[in-house]
Subunit: 302 residues, 4 copies
């Protein structure tokens, strides 16, 4: 990772001076503030600010449900109830702001989550650093032969070497030319907003990204999933760790109902009922297509 | 206003125990936390939580613009620059959460601002209190004769008395019947989700409302405006005061560029230029309709 | 319902003059255009415009997935695949605009769905009609004794009669006073924006409501659900019928995967697996709370 | 531009078969449907679908304002009124769907407009074509010396030649290696989701982009502006032409109030008033900073 001594000094300074606040404080999150958690070869995530904790979720829910809520359930039970029944607004009452450094091709997937606030480093205004994502050898995977959108086995030997060599050489050469085009040494120098077009998608960018907890969970469900591309999943996994420390009860409910949970279709539910009643259901008698049946069997671990 | 002793004790307890945090702290906002600012006869706003301060705005902008930004401008100048050029994303990096108690007809206008998070007291689940907005005599205005959507002079004498009497009597009777319908004393009791339909739009509801600073400014520009209905403006005005203490530099820029600023159409700009060149422009030679010209003259204070 | 002869004449005129278009046309939706489908005692929904059809969903998906998509799957299979795997953006490519007349207390629930465009009749600007929702006798339900947010048995005899009498009398009296306050006959007349506060929540309002198909499905899943309040469910049910005619393949997938589908938590999935393996799982051995177990058993129809 | 014979045949087929509809039809928009308007060297925009026309805007406004609206104003006057007073919801009642082919670095700016629906070609799933944006010689501009985020004079002679040569060679080589990495000829072939990271930001991508008219106007105001980067402005300009044909009255109001209009700050307005009263205001007496004063003078064309 690329935390410079200057940046580390800034982080240390920010962490050295706690100040009193009357706001809700999450001890688990305070320990993460400002520190950079490395992701991939040059990337990181770090928490810049947060609002709320587990209690803020139940407090908001109790505004909705009035006094009755207080007696019936403890905080953890209420949070599980809210998650189970898709009462999403109380989770929206927590907010978090990350500083993220990530390759551009990961940023392009990430930004599709629209319900978030973003300030990205502007390559129109400033000059990007010479930092590129080059996969670790064990992440250099072949195209899947069964899934257009997936990976197969890890590349071996000469093929792997050739790929790494091409990635490195092209990145280096593109960046050399980027600098040459920008240079004002004996020439005018191309506009930054144009020169950047020569840079490949594995160059690193960075941004501030702010999102509420409900939408963060939605992001994590999709991007920490086994079907997500490894490079974005690495960021999502790091965020899962932080979120677990920030709002432990909400995160536990998220794990049980979302990450570990599954959706059963009406047909799937009907099949489960028949199977529990002792019937030997097959794809032919299930009413499902072959693809659905395969997924259904996978879900049941058969 | 209706802060019960219980609620006051809770506020006092929350304010009694500052805790250390590493996050950005706004001293101006800390002093408001949890305390209720009265609005109208039974309403209030109170700040429940916040994220960020003036420095968080420039910090986010500097992620975008890189190192160059640091040298050139101080924080206040940069904030004014961002506001002037509609760079809205750095303002989105601050967030605030209010607890608001307000009449239902105000809530109905308010909720049209969609980019916010809301948890409202549920009259489907719980029973509403007997609290109604009854305007102060000096707020009991006649229908405007020139503006379908505005107020004229204050009602006087018997007419004013009749109106107040009707508002009070109808509210009281509707609430009596609400209670009678709900009662399970010697009868089943109507469902809450049905009984509430008997209640008038001046009954009070409450909610948690969370919004980022950019969208809060948009709300305030529309709702603290002289053309907004007085009853929602009273809430917006109270929020303006809080926001000024929270992010003084951003609020000052907002006042200059948004609240006090105006939009000139292409035609209006052309007219200003001609007038500055000494021409006596009239509605006939302005290219504007009569309505536009009237508004244009009003803008220039003529 | 309250379609006036004037309105019917307008509908007839709009339906009398088909015009040629090159856009995608849904025959099933054309037959609904402009006509009012009655809901509750004075309400309705009617389709004002729409964009796209089933083919527009797959067309958008094929932009994403490229040429490969064409060969593999027919439209219906692709739509089911997209729905099953939560690929929501192709469904966002269809849009629909409704004109809805509905009681205010229903409108207050409805508006919580934020990802939609709305133009509501303004009681600040105009005068509302004397139309109130009065439930049919078989919809006059008691408060549920087991669910704070639900209905029990239908009220009977004198209690039902008293409730209906109160609802009607209060609505009528409030409206009489609304008119008296507004009247400019021998007095100034109260501002409309103030007089409206005397009106109860069962008065009818109306709006144009425009939404994309993905968000419409989300609305329908929540509001056509058995746990939704009957009065909003009546609108959602009417919309389900229209949507089925508009995009039959997407609606069929929605029914299977969303309306008829269920979510199994990680714990619930584990229990199903154990039960399929022959184990007699009980609440005690399930790892679930009593409430969860009850819902789990209900889901499996046990 | 790169419309293949196959694509042209598809466009011709789609345009050959008008079908009857009862929906609002915009004649000006029908003529654009499906046809590709070239932008840059390989890009285009084309209208895939639309909803509504000028009349749909006023129709929605009249739902809000009730009967009164009908008498007072004609459609054009009402549309100008709505635009002038920032009544944005009626404009949200129109919707348009474009198919856009554009370089990735333009797509990255574009996607920051969040209130839109997008389906982008997936380079995770499919293989991108060998098409790169190479600027026309008169668009090869130097970095501005006064504005970090702008262009200066056009590059000349050898410098221009060197830049073009680098852009072309790097694009070509990166794509050659992209193909070599993907190849399954005698090797496994790298996963598509990884190989794409070698491609530079001037490669073309494509997407379906759907947006309502209010948000389209917001996009056009920012991206058809003289300060926008030329390459995205070329797309915005093409969209302006289409929008003018689609909703001529709304577009005319947009031109007058937004594109051609300006914002005056409170201080700026005060200065205009003083100048109109005959005072010779200078930067020193204006209360503005030097930067603000320079922009203010520029606005007034002095």
């Amino acid at each position: 990772m690329s935390i410079t001594p200057d940046q580390q000094a800034e982080i240390d300074a920010l962490r050295a001076t706690p100040r009193p606040t009357l706001r809700a404080v999450s001890e688990g999150m305070e320990k993460h503030l400002y520190t950079a958690i490395p992701v991939l070869d040059h990337g990181f995530i770090r928490v810049i600010d947060y609002m709320g904790d587990d209690a803020a979720i139940t407090q908001a829910a109790r505004v909705s449900y009035g006094k009755g809520t207080k007696a019936v359930q403890n905080d953890e039970g209420l949070i599980r109830y809210l998650m189970r029944h898709w009462h999403s607004t109380p989770f929206e009452m927590c907010e978090v702001k990350f500083h993220v450094k990530l390759p551009v091709f990961v940023a392009r997937q990430w930004i599709r989550h629209r319900t978030a606030n973003v300030n990205e480093y502007s390559a129109r205004y400033s000059i990007l650093d010479r930092e590129f994502y080059i996969p670790e050898p064990d992440k250099l995977a072949a195209q899947s032969t069964v899934n257009n959108q997936g990976r197969g086995a890890v590349l071996q030997g000469e093929e792997a070497a050739r790929v790494l060599e091409m990635l490195k050489a092209d990145a280096g050469r593109s960046y050399d030319h980027y600098e040459e085009m920008l240079s004002q040494d004996g020439q005018d120098g191309l506009a930054r907003e144009l020169a950047r077009m020569n840079l490949p998608a594995n160059i690193y960018t960075q941004w501030y990204w702010k999102i509420d907890l409900h939408n963060l969970f939605h992001f994590l469900r999709l991007r920490a999933d086994a079907h997500a591309q490894y490079e974005i999943r690495a960021y999502a996994d790091a965020m899962c760790g932080v979120t677990k420390d920030w709002v432990p009860a909400a995160y536990a409910a998220f794990e049980d109902y979302r990450m570990g949970g599954v959706n059963l279709s009406a047909k799937g539910l009907e099949c489960v009922k028949r199977m529990l009643a002792g019937e030997a259901v097959t794809q032919e008698t299930s009413g499902m297509s072959k693809g659905e049946w395969r997924e259904f069997e996978g879900m049941l671990g058969r």
